[in-house]
Amino acid sequence: MNEVVLPAMPALAGLYRQAVVGAVLRRAGRRSAASALPVVRLRASGGPVDRERLTAFQHLVGQAARDAVPSAHVHTLAFPVAMSVMARPDFPLPLLGMVHLSNTVVQTRALRVGEEFESVAYAENLSPHRSGTSVDLVTEVSVDGERIWTGRSVYLARGVRTVNGREEHPEPSPDGFPDGSPGTSPAATDDGRDAALPGNGDAFIPPVPTAQWHLASDTGRAYAAVSGDWNPIHLSAPSARLLGMKRAIAHGVYLAARMVELAEPAAPDALSWGVNFLSPALLPGTLAVAVRPGEATGGSVRRTEVTGWASGAKRPSFTGWVTGQAVDPASP
């Protein structure tokens, strides 16, 4: 696989612009879709972590301002590199309107305040999905050549079939937005296309809640301020409506960060977690949350299951797990 070293950590704003241009070219037929993923890894250097931004992130997700960087914050630090892969002209799926299905993170040790890091991102597992095509974006974060954090984000391009090098039946993007961030699934738009998402079928019977998250209307803006991801779908009802949503929705990594804090408030260095986004958490809103402590396979290590849902919802907003060891999410 070729490796391309980026001159600096890319800015998300520029990548969003690039994605919009790509979408226009694609629509105009000026750019043909590829049938395979680019065989390339992008690399960029980052850090040291900005202390004020870190503190603000930690406070927003309910964490103590420790010197260990929360594993979810590492995602936001390295996300521009993954976004750069998806914004490439030879990336086969339209970034606009992509739905974030899940995240898994495996961390062998925490990134620390003051440390510089390297981030590598690539795409793999271009796979047919019953509602389109899914792809995994893998991001690795290393300090001094040692990989300490690996994240896998699964995205779905709805209605896109990549066969023989061209898109068949490209469906107009439901929300018209280059959604590279999680938790932005438009599944809650009452358009009957919910079947795209996992967790459908079995009726959801809410567990006994152990917590309640009040998500104020400014939750998305507050998260954008600490993550740098100003995706309009999270910012306000009008900006979200422009993109086909009923209301602004909570950022998936914000929900994941709170999930991890709830399950492992003093997260050990070795930590893994996964989260599936099943329906958007609308803002403002309230999520009931259930935490169920258990043991990881093999015993001895805690593995906590967390579910979040809105009252009366047919499906949870998210289901996830957190465990205090570095396990490979591919073989849970």
Binding site: E52, T55, D67, A266
Partner: protein, 438 residues
């Protein structure tokens, strides 16, 4: 030594409470490295380091007691919330305590007593304060309007409540170091005491210089390596001026006591600055320490609190420890000569010097303390040998934990002897305590 007849527990034998170790984060100057860290953040950071150092992950500690002097009302359960945010077992109970600058020392005394009585086997005592992230409250006028507004049902009632609001009500109130009953700041109170005892500018600057020199030397020899965890980029107390000199200190302008008829002597150099930080101490019974293969640095022997009537000008605001000291020494049958280390909290250099002068004064000790003569002299070479608050800074509730952990380590290094702690506090209070080498 821990069983003191006459201490109120009769002749009941109690077991020893030992200092196992301590941890603090470097103290930052207000508005510095910890400007955006809350009390809870810093207390958790101090706990994190203690938990890591002594392998307490997932352990149920007998009890955690800590406090903060400047505390936001949302932090009503500060210590318990810090425990829940730490790697300690969630089954660890905790409580908050507040006794102004004596908070940290009083948590040590309280938990040590529980250990001695067998109520708990282990405990973590400490404190935290942030002058940067201090709570700011709305004015009394605005507060009343808001409360009435929340109770108002009709638009007319709501309008009536809001109409009482005046522009001046919109100014917020930040906490001050002023005494509620006198309106004088702590510095102005101490200036009265400084003048009364005739403490010179030179003597104050010399004490401040020693504090910086001793703290710098302690860092140089690695004294704090197992007493401190770096935090937010700080590895040493930000207030430490290793290169300060008597000449530099002499150049500073006085900041307290300008209105008195004696020359003002108290400067920013010989007064403690506003500081952010946290400190915790791990205490246990001997059995607990042995069972967990933990060190035993020193015994917590005994403690005494005192208070003075400063409101009517009968005594200086920060002179209460002077009264507590003879009671503590008498109960334990000890004299100043029996101690190898003196840890007298340097709220101001002149606080330490006024206390020492009082104990040396035959007249004062006879008339005020009811003694036959002077309590005694303190050998200055044994005073604050690893630096104190003038150099390290003084995050109010964190100071007790800093002193106890440092003194216990100094006693363990020496391998014998006793240490005496004296901490003054707002409200005319003070706490003194004895530690003993094992």
């Amino acid at each position: 030594m821990s069983n003191q007849p006459g201490a109120g527990a009769g002749t009941t034998t109690v077991r020893n409470a030992v200092v196992i170790g301590g941890n603090r984060i470097p103290f930052a100057r207000s508005g510095g490295a910890y400007a955006h860290s809350s009390n809870k953040d810093m207390l958790i950071a101090a706990l994190d380091g203690l938990v890591a150092r002594f392998g307490l992950q997932g352990e149920r500690v007998g009890e955690v007691a800590a406090g903060a002097v400047l505390k936001h009302s949302r932090d009503f359960n500060l210590t318990r919330e810090a425990v829940l945010g730490s790697a300690l077992s969630a089954h660890t109970p905790a409580y908050d305590l507040q006794q102004a600058c004596a908070t940290g020392l009083e948590t040590v005394v309280g938990l040590a007593n529980k250990i001695k009585l067998g109520q708990i086997d282990s405990g973590i005592a400490g404190g935290v304060d942030s002058a940067s992230d201090a709570p700011i409250v709305v004015s009394e006028g605005l507060r009343r309007v808001l409360l009435d507004l929340s109770r108002a049902r009709t638009p007319k009632q709501k309008l009536a409540a809001v109409s009482r609001l005046r522009p001046r009500d919109l100014a917020p109130n930040a906490p001050t170091t002023g005494e509620p009953r006198t309106g004088l700041s702590m510095g102005e109170h101490q200036a009265l005491t400084t003048a009364a005892w005739g403490i010179t500018r030179e003597a104050q600057d010399e004490l401040a210089y020693s504090s910086h020199a001793n703290l710098a030397a302690a860092y140089e020899r690695g004294f704090f390596e197992d007493l401190m965890t770096p935090y937010r980029g700080l590895t040493r107390d930000a207030n430490l001026r290793a290169d300060t000199s008597l000449e530099k200190l002499a150049k500073l302008k006085p900041v307290f006591g300008a209105g008195l008829d004696t020359p003002a002597t108290m400067t920013a150099g010989n007064s403690t600055p506003l500081t952010d930080g946290a400190a915790v101490v791990l205490l246990g019974s001997e059995d607990y320490a042995r069972a967990n293969n933990l060190p035993m640095l020193a015994n917590v022997v005994d403690a005494e609190a005192a208070a003075v009537d400063f409101v009517n000008g009968q005594e200086g605001l920060l002179m209460a420890p002077v009264y507590a000291m003879p009671r503590l020494l008498q109960r334990n049958g000890l004299h100043f000569d029996d101690f190898d280390f003196f840890e007298i909290h340097e709220a101001f250099a002149s606080t330490v010097l006024s206390s020492i002068a009082a104990w040396e004064s035959e007249e004062f000790c006879r008339t005020r303390l009811g003694l036959d003569g002077a309590l005694g002299k303190i050998n200055r070479s044994k005073l604050n040998v690893n630096g104190s608050s003038l150099a390290a800074g003084h995050p109010f509730a964190a100071t007790g934990g800093r002193i106890v952990a440092s003194l216990a380590k100094a006693l363990a290094e020496k391998g014998s002897g006793r240490g005496l702690i004296s901490v003054c506090a707002a409200g005319g209070q003070g706490v003194v305590a004895i530690l003993e080498a094992r």
